[in-house]
Amino acid sequence: MLLLFFLVYPLLVNVETSYMVYFFYTTFIYVALSQGWNLVAGYAGQVSLGQHAFFGIGCYVTAITWRAGWAGYFDPLGMFMSGMGAALVAVVIGWPLLAKLRGDYFSLGTLGLGEILRVIALRGGRFTEGAEGIGLPSSAYLSMSYYYYIALLIVIITLVSLWFLTHSNIGLALIAIREDETAAAANGINTLKYKILAFAVGAFITALCGSLDAYYTFHVHAGGAFNLNWIIIPILMTILGGVGTFWGPILGAFILATIFEMTNIWMPELHPIFSAAFIVLVTLFLPDGLISYLTGYKHQILQRLFFLNGYFKRGKERRGFKNMRSQN
């Protein structure tokens, strides 16, 4: 239903001037970014603070391959290379980090990774063109609807792969690692392999968004590509919706993006203050995320009211039922 609406919507309005199309475009990117983080932190339990590094890698790989002539504007090859580049970095860097560091130390390590890459991009000389960044030929611009549909495609790819990952043995292994890594290893799960897999898939998704952003802004520079916002806002959206759930980050992304945009329109000067106060209030009153509110037994009335009964089942419970049935 919702998908159909998003597919048809750009056909109904003037795409170039519609604010809603732009709004949906940014929200789609945030949904994909949130799910990329959710896979690593929510399912595998490895709280990465370095997703902006992969976003930046996506931006730079796209810009550099385009400048070198290996891939053009909206080239699937360029986007794929961006994703693979980030996934490669995730494997190479993630190997020592994930093998050696647990919990907060892993978070700190990934935060350091993003900051190092930002400085390298700033000091990269001719290759990254320093603080000015790489300018891309903006005359290539075609139409906003391409951006819209590609962002939607990225979201669909992300959601489908996340669904299949979390509903397979891999998802079970990841959740086992999140709950108790030592016990998971004792039960024969190769924890390092699965952690690296989740980290790399998260990096791939994040870099796809970075690549699309590079096509959109036509200007890749270190301050924008490695901006901490690319990790902070998705984390907020995921926690707002519900960490480790399939629907949570989607809901969180739509709600938070709406609030950011509305405050930006109506009170542009107070926008960051209002957003920050909103974050504080949410953590005070809804620390488990909105989805837990919808799935909680106390609020079944609310679910019935919106005909959502059983719609927002948590992945863990549903899998539990399935396993029980297969055993019988």
Binding site: V47, K100, G103, Y105, L111, I116, I273, A276, L284, D288
Partner: protein, 297 residues
């Protein structure tokens, strides 16, 4: 000693690094204490510091008292401030787990930053006194008077915190909670009360570091996050949960930055610091002088 024209120049850069590092050390100490009792990285540490810096800047500009009185003023005020933040916000959220606390700290950071830029404008400020530029010579090197006094204050502060943790009953309880919260609770220590005490001390330490910043460096409302990161690196250098380690980690970081910005260039100093940070995390996660294992899941 490559790149240095003389030994005294090397010594000068080294001493400046130590002065810078003392401030990192005090901020890192607060971060380390809060981490010990609440198991979260208090991201707003830097923002709280800058808040203290602005308060002192305001008072000094309005009443023209000496900024060094700010230390006496800021300690009780920020102890109370920290206690109120813990009781009002964190105590409630801490029950729900670590993620919401982290998110709350982040929300507070953004809130403080933007409130400060609204109240005091985002321009860069610094407190100027008639002795700000004075310095005394020691052999061949110049030592800035303000930075010297600030470093002494940092050392004294660390000493007081160290004695507090080692010699008082409350301090022992704080150490107990940071080592094993459940065992401490079983022995009749209220983790909530200890957390509020630790949090208040952590915020007061951020306040002290903030006053030190406003006396010796220029600052703006968004400077704090960078300082939080630096304090975090200092904590990792020294090992989480060690008082002397936090100060030594801060000094190591300050010297490392100062030397690398002189030898290579100022822009690379951050990258060198982060690279050292990553290497230490991977190879010596217990810190350079720490002994405790980092394999606490």
């Amino acid at each position: 000693m490559a790149g240095f024209s003389s030994f005294s120049l090397f010594l000068q850069v080294f001493i400046n690094g130590i002065f810078l590092g003392c401030m990192y050390g005090v901020a890192a100490l607060g971060l380390s204490l809060i981490f010990g009792s609440m198991q979260i990285i208090f991201l707003a540490q830097g923002a709280v510091m800058i808040l203290a810096a602005y308060c002192i800047y305001w008072i000094v500009t309005l009443t023209s008292i000496d900024p060094f009185f700010g230390f006496l003023l800021i300690i009780p005020v920020f102890l109370g401030f920290g206690w109120v933040i813990y009781k009002g916000l964190f105590q409630r959220v801490a029950k729900a787990g670590k993620n919401p606390s982290l998110l709350l700290a982040f929300g507070l950071m953004v809130l403080f930053e933007h409130l400060m830029s609204l109240i005091w404008t985002p321009n860069t400020r610094s407190v100027a006194t008639n002795y700000s530029t004075s310095a005394f010579g020691l052999w061949d090197i110049n030592i800035s008077v303000t930075r010297f006094i600030v470093s002494i204050v940092a050392l004294i502060t660390t000493g007081i915190v160290f004695l507090f943790l080692k010699r008082t009953m409350v301090g022992k309880a704080v150490r107990g909670v940071s080592e094993d919260m459940q065992a401490a609770a079983l022995l009749g220590i209220s983790p909530n009360w200890i957390s509020s005490v630790t949090f208040a001390i952590g915020i007061a330490l951020a306040g002290i570091a903030g006053v030190a910043t406003c006396i010796t460096y220029a600052f703006d409302p968004y400077f704090g996050f960078l300082f939080s990161l630096k304090a975090l690196i200092a904590v990792a250098f020294g090992g989480l949960g060690s008082v002397a380690g936090a100060l030594l980690g801060g000094i190591t970081l300050g010297v490392l930055e100062s030397l690398s910005s002189y030898i290579i260039s100022a822009g690379w100093a951050d990258a060198v610091a982060y690279a050292a940070f990553l290497l230490i995390l991977v190879f010596r996660p217990e810190g350079l002088i720490g002994r405790r294992s980092a394999q606490r899941a």
